[in-house]
């Protein structure tokens, strides 16, 4: 058993990655085993063509949507182990249950243990950033001896597994049996040392090999399927997104921070080895280019491997290194006493470790690029605050919590908004991995490439306009592909406003972003072709839709994507949601989108009648609820209702049959009669009915007058606003409407007119300046309607002048009195 060395790691922990590289350097194993699905063994050969972050994608050949990802970042110990093996010409193999088993599990693939045992130890020691605990506490004591460190991890895990014995389920036991089988096989294959890189949690289970027959019994009879897979590009963003989900392997909440820790430690180690100048420069370049360019990571690692060969020469330097570290060890050793002095330890500013200053320098650059005022002085203050916080919390150096708190208080002025930027761009980061051309593609990606070729649609990274004529098959298929890809989170094309182009034309703006490769990779779990994946995603969204608008959206997308299965699912969802909906605004709100779908449906090969029936159903339900929905609502609710009412009216005109249009008009008429209906919808209903020739001018004028006289107060002005809102152009151009309003106004008595004036002012105030000018010109052009002309009233003018004089006089006298 001594031939086998178990390196227990924290998945995606840069500290563990350092330990693994150092231990492998010391051990020089002949075989490296890495926790992971054995079906991926052939894929290790492609390592040279990969730039992390990347992920293994394995899928069931019979059902490609049954798939799982195993992501790797540059700082993942598993990745470093694979790289070490490749660089030293040693075989690397995966050890775990086959993916064929995990993919078949009822609750989906969960390739890794949910428990983070080293994180638990860190937490117990009072650290909420496990990687800083590793650096400050574990490595400070052990760095000189990675194998001793691995041994200490094993010991700790043995104790921890006893404490958490009930976390060890059958599944874990089966997985560990499979790992032991792989260890046995490796020992048969070589006489030399074997290294096993696995989650720390499993180390105690692999420390002793029971009879092979016992393990064979544990894994016997497990489901078998044909599994194939490939490497796909990944991103820091995806890594972070997966950190919450149990499904696709443990992710990391802060990949950007971990990458920063990994790079900083590598730079430190390189500096300690004496190639200051060379690596320092390299490191600076790395920071400058980090966000854009993933390749520099490899540069770092290569330098690292290169140094490994020279290790013996560096023995002296190494002991120097150990000495300085001993100097530091006093700090965490005395723990809080040393740091409780309130005065910061100056740790972050100490020579040699620029992890924290460099972090804030990057944060400042980022914020400055967004035009937020942060100076270099602020970066210094942030470092000091982070140090003070770490001291206050009894931690030897600032962790993610401390740098985040300091960024908030010093760089962001307490404002969460810029902090979110720091989180997205720095803590998570935007690093993208790449996969070389020789690496096989996922079925979905292959389908996409084939479709692109067939449709002659190249994936250019420049922005391009695309005009499509939907009567041509190739163009129609292009539009459909772009839409299906949008469903799969690949916004290669952005649809432009199509209204003015007519039914058969579409305009797109297309731009391929290398980051889309990640979304394409992720979409591979939904299906083996773009069509089947999009259909599945839409089907799921339809099934999950809770509101009418959602279902209508899905229906629209399904029709546009020409996916009949999804259309049927969305249609069913729409019925279900409409039946459950009690909110009229919600029902009416879905109509415009649906009307659009009805109009374009014919072009898209969907039976228009099917869609029209859906629209009629919604319209009828909305019409029933409308009068009630207008009653007893506040202004904000009335605004929402008005928007929904307008949209529904237009939709009805556009896509409903005459019978249903009549139903809608009846609903509007009932709004007029509804007691205490809000003025806004009531005014609007009045105008729409006048436009529809249901009400004549006299009836409208009567209603206007009644509204104004009956409800002195806000109701009246709402009615006038509802009637006139958005009609400036109409008013100026349509002699009928103009005449109607004109007639109403001139028909008012002088008193009524005076009462109405403020309401009118308020309604007209909603028009833009240009609209008001246009209206003014229109009124002027009409030569002023008779009777309403501004006749000069001498008596009134005299009274007014007297009043003004009186006012001026009093103001003058009080002013004089004060002086």
């Amino acid at each position: 058993m001594s031939r086998v060395t178990l390196l227990g790691i924290r998945h995606h922990g840069p500290g563990s990655a350092r330990m693994v590289v150092a231990a492998l350097d010391a051990l020089r194993p002949k075989v490296v085993l890495v926790e992971g699905p054995p079906e991926a063994d052939p894929l290790v050969a492609h390592l040279a063509g990969l730039t992390p972050p990347v992920a293994l994608l394995l899928h069931d050949e019979a059902a490609p949507e049954t798939a799982a990802f195993w992501p790797f970042a540059a700082f993942s110990p598993e990745w470093q182990a694979l790289r070490w093996a490749a660089a030293h010409g040693v075989p690397a193999r995966f050890a775990d249950l086959p993916a064929s088993v995990t993919l078949a599990e009822p609750d989906g693939p969960r390739p890794r243990a949910a428990i983070d045992p080293l994180g638990l130890l860190a937490e117990a020691a009072g650290f909420d950033d496990p990687e800083r605990w590793w650096e400050d506490v574990v490595e400070q004591h052990r760095e000189a001896d990675p194998l001793g460190l691995a041994g200490a991890v094993a010991e700790a895990m043995t104790a921890l597994r006893e404490e958490f014995a009930d976390e060890i389920d059958d599944r874990t036991l089966r997985r560990e049996a499979a790992m032991r089988q792989a260890v046995r096989q490796a020992c048969r294959d070589t006489d030399g040392p074997v290294a096993v890189v696995c989650g720390a949690w499993h180390v105690p289970a692999l420390a002793h090999l029971p009879p092979a027959s016992a393990d064979a019994a544990l894994v016997r009879g497990l489901p078998r399927r044909r599994v194939s897979g490939t490497w796909v590009p990944w991103s820091h963003g995806r890594l972070a997104r997966d950190s919450g989900a149990a499904g696709y392997g443990a992710g990391v909440a802060a990949p950007g921070w971990y990458a920063h820790l990994w790079d900083s430690a590598a730079a430190r180690a390189a500096a300690a080895r004496g190639n200051d100048t060379a690596t320092r420069d390299g490191d600076n370049g790395d920071t400058a280019a980090r966000d854009g360019d993933a390749a520099t990571h490899d540069g770092d690692t290569a330098a690292h491997d290169g140094n490994a060969a020279a290790r013996n020469d560096d023995a002296a330097a190494h002991s120097d290194d150990a000495a300085t570290h001993d100097g530091n060890t006093a700090a965490p050793g005395n723990g809080t006493a040393a740091h409780g002095n309130g005065a910061p330890r100056n740790g972050s500013l100490a020579a040699g470790d620029d992890t924290v200053p460099r972090w804030f320098a990057r944060a400042c650059q980022l914020l400055r690029a967004e035009d937020l005022p942060v100076s270099t002085a602020s970066a210094v203050d942030a470092v000091r605050l982070a140090d003070a916080l770490a001291a206050l919390r009894g931690r030897p150096s600032p962790g993610l919590a401390e740098v985040t708190d300091a960024a908030l208080a010093v760089l962001c002025g307490g404002d969460e908004l810029p902090l979110r930027l720091v989180h997205e761009r720095l803590v998570v980061g935007e690093q993208l991995g790449t996969v070389g051309p020789d690496v096989p593609q996922s079925p979905l990606a292959a389908d996409l490439v084939a479709t692109q070729r067939r449709l002659r649609l190249r994936a250019d990274t420049g922005t391009r306009q695309l005009r499509l004529d939907l009567r041509r098959d190739n163009d129609r298929a292009r539009g459909t592909l772009l839409r299906r890809l949008r469903v799969l989170d690949v916004p290669w094309g952005r649809p432009e406003d199509v209204a003015r182009l007519g039914t058969f034309a579409e305009a797109w703006q297309v731009r391929w972003d290398p980051g889309f490769a990640v979304a394409v990779a992720a979409a591979a779990r939904h299906g083996s072709t773009v069509a089947s994946a999009a259909e599945r995603v839409l089907g799921r969204r339809a099934a999950g839709a809770a509101r009418v608008a959602e279902a209508a959206d899905v229906l629209g997308e399904a029709v546009n994507c020409e996916l009949p299965g999804a259309v049927a699912a969305a249609r069913a969802a729409l019925d279900r949601c409409a039946a459950a909906a009690t909110d009229t605004v919600e029902l009416l709100g879905a109509l415009p989108a649906l009307a659009g779908t009805v109009r374009y449906g014919s072009v898209r090969d969907t039976d228009p009648e099917l869609l029209r029936t859906a629209l009629h159903g919604l319209l009828a339900r909305g019409a029933v609820g409308l009068p009630l929905a207008c009653r007893g609502i506040d202004d904000a609710a009335a605004e929402r209702l008005l928007a929904a009412l307008d949209g529904a009216h237009e939709a009805a005109g556009l896509a409903a049959d005459p019978a249903h249009q009549a139903v809608w008009r009846q609903a509007l008429a009932r709004v007029l009669d509804a007691p205490n209906a809000h003025g806004l919808p009531a005014g609007r209903a009045t105008r729409l009915l006048w436009e529809a020739l249901v009400l004549d001018a006299d009836a409208v004028a009567a209603r206007l007058r009644r509204a104004v006289t009956a409800g002195a107060g806000t109701g009246a002005s709402a009615f006038v606003a509802g009637f006139l809102r958005g009609s400036a152009a109409l008013l100026a151009e349509d002699p009928q409407l103009f005449g109607l309003v004109d007639g109403w106004l001139t028909g008012l008595s002088a008193r009524e007119f005076a009462d109405t004036l403020p309401l009118l002012r308020r309604a007209v105030a909603e028009f833009s300046t240009a609209e008001r000018r246009m209206l003014g010109e229109r009124v002027g052009a009409a030569g002023g309607p008779e009777g309403a002309g501004p006749a000069w009233d001498e008596g009134r003018a005299a009274r007014l002048a007297a009043e003004v004089r009186r006012l001026l006089a009093t103001a003058g006298s009080t002013g004089g009195g004060r002086g």
Binding site: T336, A337, G340, N341, G342, A343, P344, P373, S375, A377, S378, D381, R384, L385, D387, A388, L389, A391, L392, R393, A401, D405, A406, L408, A409, V410, C412, G413, G414, D415, E416, D634, A636, A637
Partner: protein
């Protein structure tokens, strides 16, 4: 706001909590920054409350995120100035006072910012009788609280910084960056003693009125104090503070029943958010800030009523007047909002019938 009214009855925090501070200091074996009365850790414990090894129980002063208090204390450790901002009634002044009391043992070195705050009250003034008799001299100088804090290495407090005229605000720039204050009349410069720093508070709603210059803003670490995140947290704050205040006022009333406090807090939160807890009903928002501080004064006001005119137990009748007073700040619009809330929400809650009756009977002066 109303709490401030009883401020005259209230001793500064370092006197009120002298016993706690003494016990903490005795048990505190961690290093203290120069001129600090306690270690930073002990300051955090004082503010957030806890139990000492000898069994002394420390009352929580600020109820909220530990992280924020740690940022504030760590800021003071680095002798950076601290700016507490937030909407009204989020304990900015309260936290500032307790931090100053714990760090320096003196929370009274305070400048109140108003539109009329002069530079003298930030820097120094003169005793003119002496100035004329003796000429400029140390004895004729009247130091501002800030100058006294600089000399003793203490925390100076600035309340409502953004209400001061901009040029007065800017006199802090030199003080904070140079940690020195020139007195040209005496041809000398006062150097701040270690331990000197500034805690300023500013109201969110004032931002933009007399907005700080960026040069000044850069000299502060900023901590935003949020309103209580949940109803439970707010209930805890209100009932704890009301009970404390009741004791301080020696009200012969029982501490308020949790259910009553919860009703007040719910009403405040619903009106503040403009919708009911279940999210079903949209509400008009009154113009007032309806802060936690005001919820506290509604409850303490109710306790006073109960003590002097009732059976000592707080109930719907005792709360009604205070509630209407806190909500209705603008006669017309707020009254409409309050009436609407009473009719559409309070009335519908069966277990709130008593409150509905009581509130309906309170005149609010609206139409």
């Amino acid at each position: 706001m109303t709490i401030d009214g009883i401020g005259v009855l209230r001793a500064p925090a370092e006197q009120q909590y002298a016993a706690e501070l003494a016990a903490l200091a005795a048990a505190d074996d961690r290093p203290r920054p120069p001129n600090w009365r306690l270690s930073p850790q002990a300051v955090v414990t004082y503010v957030l409350g806890g139990t000492l090894p000898d069994g002394t129980v420390l009352a929580p002063k600020y109820v909220g995120d530990r992280r924020l208090v740690e940022i504030a204390v760590a800021t003071l450790v680095t002798d950076r100035a601290l700016l507490l901002v937030g909407v009204p009634g989020t304990a900015k002044s309260w936290l500032s006072e307790h931090l100053a009391a714990a760090v320096s043992g003196d929370s009274t070195l305070m400048v109140q910012g108003t539109a009329g705050t002069s530079e003298e009250s930030v820097r120094y003034g003169w005793n003119y009788a002496r100035l004329i008799a003796e000429g400029p001299s140390e004895a004729a100088l009247v130091p501002s609280p800030v100058l006294r804090a600089m000399r003793t290495g203490a925390v100076a407090r600035v309340e409502e910084l953004t209400r001061m005229p901009a040029e007065v605000q800017d006199s802090f720039i030199t003080i904070l960056s140079e940690k020195a204050l020139p007195v040209p009349e005496l041809g000398q410069q006062v150097q701040a003693v270690p331990g000197f720093t500034v805690i300023a508070t500013a109201n969110d709603r004032d931002r933009g009125v007399n907005q700080m210059s960026s040069a000044l803003a850069r000299r502060f670490n900023t901590v935003v104090l949020p309103p209580p995140a949940t109803e439970d947290a707010e209930v805890a704050i209100v009932s704890a503070r009301a009970a404390q205040l009741g004791r301080a006022l020696e009200l012969p009333a029982e501490p308020p029943a949790l259910d009553e406090v919860r009703r007040v807090v719910r009403i405040f939160r619903e009106l503040r958010n403009g919708s009911t807890v279940d999210g079903r009903t949209q509400l008009k928002r009154p113009s007032g800030s309806l802060s936690t501080a005001e919820a506290i004064s509604v409850v303490t006001g109710g306790m006073a009523l109960a003590a002097h005119f009732g059976d000592g137990r707080i109930g719907a009748d005792e709360l009604a007047a205070g509630l209407a007073g806190a909500v209705v700040r603008d006669r017309v619009s707020d009254d409409a909002a309050w009436r609407e809330y009473l009719e559409t929400v309070v009335r519908e809650r069966a277990e709130w019938r008593d409150l509905y009756q009581a509130c309906r009977d309170v005149p609010t002066g609206g139409a």
